[in-house]
């Protein structure tokens, strides 16, 4: 593992740390917090600081340091968490996230001078409104001036100071990096520097293993150090420094509390080094005569865990390259196809009933589900970015917003998680900017000043439904209609249902905002949202009540790699219709279908007339059934309402493995992909939304019916 990879892990852990901080802030804001919550925030900042130091991101480290100083004062009760202070802490958190991003992308670090000043200010008890300072003794420890940017003078002086005898309870840190510590691109010096920032004093350096120059391997590490760290520093903080050092011999022990400890050879100060240099006979490593390490870690760990038994133990995880995972998923897909082909071949020989085939079927299905589960990620990864967006919107709009998140642990395929972020951001912005009223308007309407945006995720019949709801003003359908007519989106005399009116806000170029703000209101947002959601095989729905808010529900497939579909034939072709779209399938009576023209027909489906699309005609397939009463009509739900696809026969209903047309051939509008059937033939998967809206459009231009039916 090289330094870049380790650094990558560091940034991944930064992200996780930031996410856990965000979650903790959520708890703090709702008043559900205790010391452990604050501790969690503190620890996250601390490990970011530690890693930043180890990888030389000095600006990030300096910022994290000040931040940590303030958090420590909150943690030990020296500062009371007032709303003002919380505001500072949360703003600083956003800047910390910016710093992390800058460090990762090699960009310009954010201008943090003002924020640093705010942090230092907040950490000074007199200026932090009414905070008593009972824990003043902790202050000098973390005095912000002790470490200013990259000025190491104090640090240097500290190292040079004559080694103080370890006071009772100080930590003895013995640290021997592995001989390959330098080969990995790391440098133990950085860790020592980190250690020095915890007010550590290097009391001795073990040079016994250092060979003469002719035997020295220049890139091997031969040294070991012993340092004293003040008792006030938590053991985990010391350990955190060494977190990124893979193979190193680290001992952290409490000095016995007796000055007698000084007599240990363990702690012999520097003069011993000269002796070694004069006569470099190898003497046993300094560390070895030390008493066997006191198993200090387990009790401390237990202690830390004790206050909160309810905390779920961290699940054990490994990080796997996504490419490897994709290859596995692809192979499993191939296996499923091969299994289907085998089943078909066996059935041709009247052997479909053999039990091994059933077993194989179960196994492949289970294997497929397990593989898909590996790629599943909780929505939390997306949701955790939302609080920040809300905070920024609050500042930009002057509105007050509370965010409620429900179901953040709902799992969904990684590709969906990755691609849902942008539409979701648009929806959130829309909810705050257009949905919620200003505080004054809310009060006038008899609502609480603070608006509520609810973000939820839930599994719903094989799909994930993500809802963004606000308790704002709701969609004013009259205004929407007026606007749509003004923009020429609908005809002035068009008859629209409430649902269709609501859906107009997804039309390209539509925006009801009186003024264009830099948040939303350019009339591109909702259009893009729907496109993005459709590209994910999803649908978007609106429920809105004037005066009490709107709710946008995104319904997405859990994975894009497999699809439940109905296999149908049209002429000599086989197609797959995604099951999510299918409402019902039926064979009409002789007079059920009203034929209006050469290729226009309507079917009376329990009282409402639904247009019938002749799939064969529209896709240019010959030899298909033309008599609706001899064909199968499949009622499908699409963005533009219900429609009927007329096909010849239904073959099967099963799960198919989606093969991307884009990756293997080229993207074709109207087709969502392809799959390989059991007989080895390729079947195209219909993109129902795209096809229906195209057919509708074609028909509307041919005969301007408006959106009727």
């Amino acid at each position: 593992m090289n330094l870049d990879e380790i650094q990558l892990i560091f940034f991944q852990e930064c992200d996780e740390g930031l996410a856990s901080m965000e979650a903790s802030f959520g708890a703090v804001r709702q008043g559900h917090y205790d010391n452990e919550t604050i501790n969690t925030i503190f620890r996250a900042v601390h490990s970011i600081k530690g890693g930043a130091g180890a990888f030389g991101h000095e600006r990030l480290q300096a910022f994290a340091h000040e931040y940590e100083t303030l958090l420590d004062l909150v943690r030990n009760g020296a500062l009371t968490l007032t709303p003002d202070l919380l505001g500072t802490i949360v703003s600083a958190f956003d800047m910390l996230a910016d710093h992390v991003t800058a460090a990762r992308d090699g960009g310009e670090p954010p201008a943090d001078a003002a924020m640093l000043a705010r942090l230092v200010d907040a950490a000074t008890p007199d200026s932090a409104g009414g905070a008593p300072a009972p824990a003043a003794e902790a202050e000098p420890e973390f005095a912000p001036v002790a470490f200013g940017g990259d000025d190491f003078d104090d640090l240097f002086a500290m190292c040079e100071a004559p080694a103080p005898a370890p006071a009772g309870g100080d930590w003895q840190v013995t640290f021997i990096p592995g001989s390959d510590a330098l080969e990995n691109g790391g440098d133990p010096l950085l860790l020592l520097r980190e250690l020095a920032m915890l007010d550590a004093t290097v009391t001795s350096v073990d040079l016994s293993a250092l060979p003469l120059l002719n035997q020295l391997h220049p890139e091997r590490c031969y040294l070991g150090w012993t340092a004293t760290v003040p008792a006030a520093v938590a053991e985990e903080d010391i350990r955190a420094i060494f977190e990124f050092m893979g193979t190193c011999d680290l001992r952290i022990e409490k000095a016995g509390g007796a000055p007698a400890n000084d007599d240990l050879p363990f702690d012999l100060p520097l003069p011993v080094l000269d002796a070694e240099l004069g006569a470099p006979t190898p003497i046993p490593p300094v560390a070895s005569p030390a008493p066997p390490p006191v198993p200090a870690a387990p009790p401390v760990a237990a202690e830390a865990a004790a206050p909160r038994a309810a905390v779920t133990p961290p699940a054990q995880t490994i990080r796997v390259d996504l490419d490897k995972l994709d290859r596995l998923v692809n192979l499993v897909g191939e296996l499923v196809i091969t299994q289907a082909m085998l089943a078909q071949r066996l059935s041709e020989h009247a052997m479909a009933g053999i039990s091994e085939l059933t077993d194989l079927d179960h196994l492949t299905r289970e294997l497929q589900e397990s593989t898909m589960a590996i790629r599943a990620q909780p929505m939390k990864t997306v949701f955790s970015r939302v609080p920040r967006i809300i905070r920024e919107l609050e500042v930009e709009t002057g509105k007050r917003v509370r965010l409620d998140i429900v179901g953040e642990m709902t799992e969904v395929d990684k590709t969906v998680v990755e691609r849902i972020g942008e539409p979701l951001t648009h929806l959130i912005r829309n909810a705050v900017d257009h949905g919620l009223e200003t505080p004054a308007e809310r009060l006038a309407a008899g609502k609480p000043e603070e608006g509520v945006v609810t973000l939820s995720a839930a599994h719903h019949s094989g799909r994930i439904v993500i809802t963004v709801a606000d308790d704002g003003r709701g969609i004013d359908r009259k205004r929407v209609r007026a606007k749509a007519i003004e923009r020429g989106i609908i005809a002035p005399d068009a008859l629209l249902s409430d649902e269709e009116t609501d859906n107009l806000i997804f039309a390209p170029g539509f925006s009801t905002a009186a003024t264009v703000s830099n948040i939303s209101g350019r009339g591109v947002g909702m259009d893009v949202v729907r496109k993005n959601v459709q590209a994910l095989g999803g649908r978007i729905g609106i429920t809105s009540h004037l005066g009490s808010g709107s709710s946008f529900a995104l319904s997405l497939p859990l994975t894009l790699a497999v699809l439940d579909g109905m296999i149908v034939t049209v002429g000599d072709q086989t197609f797959v219709i995604p099951l999510g779209h299918i409402v019902e399938s039926l064979r009409p009576d002789q007079d059920g279908v009203k034929v209006l023209g050469p290729n226009a027909a309507l079917l009376d489906v329990r009282g409402s007339y639904v247009p019938v699309h002749y799939v064969a005609d529209q896709l240019g397939i010959e030899g298909a059934e033309t008599d609706p009463s001899q064909a199968v009509l499949i009622v499908v739900e699409s963005d533009v309402g219900q429609a009927i696809l007329m096909v010849d026969t239904i073959q099967d209903q099963r799960q198919v493995v989606v093969k991307s047309l884009e990756a293997n051939y080229a993207a074709i509008p109207g087709l969502a992909g392809a799959t390989i059937l059991g007989d080895g033939r390729v079947a195209l998967i219909l993109d129902v939304d795209a096809l229906i809206s195209r057919w509708r459009r074609d028909r509307v231009t041919a005969a301007p019916l408006g959106i009727a039916a």
Binding site: D187, N214, L223, L273
Partner: protein, 101 residues
Amino acid sequence: MSPPATSLLPATLDTTAASPLRVALLDQIERGEPVHLDGSEVSRVGLACLQVLASARATAADRDLDFTLERPSEALARMIGVAGLNEALDVAADAGTARDA
């Protein structure tokens, strides 16, 4: 190279610089020449080079040769301090700061 000559250490003494530094110092010591180093130009230094320097000093002492590291830059002196190698390299604790401050 005449014995009293002082060699100027390069600006960068990172891990990759350790091997050439070792070879240069080893050559000098094996020729029986004392080692006088000028550290005033050093701006970056890692542990690998500090190890080489410490080992060189021990090796020189083994051969009864002089080894001095003079005029360490602030960066060099700081890192020697952090690594606790002041004694091992015979560099005064305030060497770098006193000169450069």
